[in-house]
Symmetry: C2
């Protein structure tokens, strides 16, 4: 695409009005001007963008005054124009395959074009990687690194993970051995267990039709001395996990698939000194201030990049389009299938 | 009481079998030998013993193999015999008024006599204090000190306290000014608010019939920059409090009056980095190991003793007898009156 071929306007997806859930949000494509890259910025023609739980979790909760709320937190594409700045075109000149996150100026990644800071928001991708495979290069891989780092900082060598068959769960299974961390994978169905065992999972508890899953999970927790659990489910799951944790154990909630956390035993909090906390990627990155953030991000970036070439962050995606994002997500949420990962394709 | 007058046997109260609640526990008085003080120990004729929530919380949960489970964690009385050891009778000779806690050898304080270590478990009480007023000298005063210490260690100068009209709540109100901590007292009824205002409470929110109590509590939290809440209620209360806390705020649960904690918003845990923890006196005392425990206990002991002469830990008690402990507690629990404090009198 030459500069002359860049159109004047583009489509992007926005929340026009929040709702009580994803289905009732008013979501529309709108036609807006293609942004112009400023100094140190590049214009990216977006190839694909991942749809993460942290995306569709935020749409119903966005405030009316934020609307139209541009959707999407990360994506990938090709640089088609560079702004001024002597290094900008050297760092990522026209034609560079990139992943991007941390968009500014109320942009979203479900957009035909975005501008991004070449130094802090754009990451070169390997030339031999099909660029659409980098759609999910940031949120899930960095979350995986953040979770493993948190487990180790709690002094534990093992942790329980619910929603273990999700894309994030599969990444965790692939990267955990290099970090010397064991994962106790909690899944609902036997076919999910089979899938995870095929990619290297060693400890799996299936909750589905087995009334003894709590005893089995407790035995695994004891065997591996796990003092930490990561729970994406909430609802009664987080309370159940807290009961199964050993004294001084911690349950980190990082998703709310089943709604409000229930069934937390006050005696577990008081007499067994257990804790209920949240895990949030941004908070993990920023913890301890800038001086701690920079080396943490360098460490995480190194691990993620190693993983990209090694393949652990590759994923199977189900593709959708700007027009079908909402209906496809609603269908996915209603089907309660874990491990399915949606991606918006913008190059079709 | 001379040594010759000490009887051979005594009555004490025990849980013979646990139950699903206090009412269904099998609780009995049993006749056992009066214990003999060993080296460094003293024999105390018990005058009175407080009935704390941490007592009746533990009876239904004690294990059958612990039964008969001797009841009561603290008490007060007069030394009637000293064991061998050159300093024992100097530290607390016969006739010394003492409070005691930390009983060993499966003793309980709801007992006509106890033996206790003169160096670590027995505390001299002021001569001018009616000895029965020292029945509650340990658990609640040290919990009050521990709570205020925890609030300060969290960097907050104010905290929310539910069950603020309890004996502990009243102690906190009296001792907080010397620690430069503000308390936002949450009570259910206007008469409780009046009582607390009379003893110096400055910030009171009445939940009873007022639908706007959450807004009022939120305004107080903002005004005083409270980042910590202490909740004795659990149930929905802890989840509600977590919602009202500012970003990075912590709710400490230290009682479970309303059962399992419900209604915890996972988004508050994840995106607002709020935490749900427990507070337990023993854990606070032991936190950081022996080297930290000794100065912490000296600090707390100094504050408690200052308070004893200053009167902040004095309480109004409703007296009961060994025979009536169970029925009086059940009646108190059913009546849902906060601030009432039961004491077993053993000198009647």
């Amino acid at each position: 695409m030459t500069t002359e071929e860049i159109p004047k306007t583009m489509k992007r997806l926005v929340v026009k009005a929040p709702g009580k859930d994803v289905a009732s949000c008013q979501i529309e494509t709108e036609e807006v001007p293609v942004p112009e890259p400023g100094a140190g910025q590049v214009l990216i023609k977006v190839t694909a963008a991942a749809i993460n739980p942290s995306d569709y979790g935020s749409w119903p909760n966005c405030r009316p005054e934020q609307c139209p709320f541009a959707m999407g937190k990360e994506g990938c594409g090709v640089v088609v124009k560079t702004g001024s700045g002597i290094l900008t075109s050297l760092i990522c000149g026209v034609g560079t395959k990139v992943g991007f996150s941390n968009l500014q100026n109320k942009q979203g990644s479900y957009s035909e074009f975005v501008v991004a800071d070449a130094y802090t928001s754009v990451f070169r991708m390997p030339n031999d990687l099909p660029i659409e495979d980098a759609a999910s290069f940031f949120v899930n891989p960095y979350t995986a690194i953040g979770i493993l780092d948190t487990v180790k900082s709690e002094g534990s060598k093992a942790f329980v993970h619910t929603a273990a068959a999700s894309q994030l769960g599969q990444m965790l299974i692939k990267v955990a051995p290099s970090q010397n961390v064991e994962i106790i994978c909690v899944v609902r169905r036997q076919d999910q267990a089979d899938l995870l065992r095929n990619i290297g999972a060693k400890h799996i508890v299936v909750t589905g039709k087995d009334d003894s899953w709590k005893q089995k999970l407790k035995a695994k927790i004891d065997e591996l001395n796990a003092t930490v659990a990561f729970d994406a489910v909430a609802g009664r799951s987080a309370g159940d996990l807290l009961d199964l944790m050993p004294v001084k154990g911690t349950v980190y909630v990082y998703g709310g698939l089943a709604g409000k956390v229930e069934n937390v035993n006050p005696m577990a909090l008081i007499y067994h000194e257990k804790k209920l906390k949240g895990f949030f990627l941004t908070a993990w990155i920023q913890h301890g201030g800038m001086l701690a953030t920079i080396p943490r991000m360098m460490m995480a970036g190194h691990k993620v990049n190693t993983g990209l070439s090694g393949g652990w962050s590759s994923s199977k995606f189900k593709d959708t389009s700007l027009e079908n994002v909402q209906s496809d997500i609603v269908q996915m949420l209603n089907s309660s299938v874990t491990g399915q990962k949606l991606r918006v394709r913008l190059d079709s």
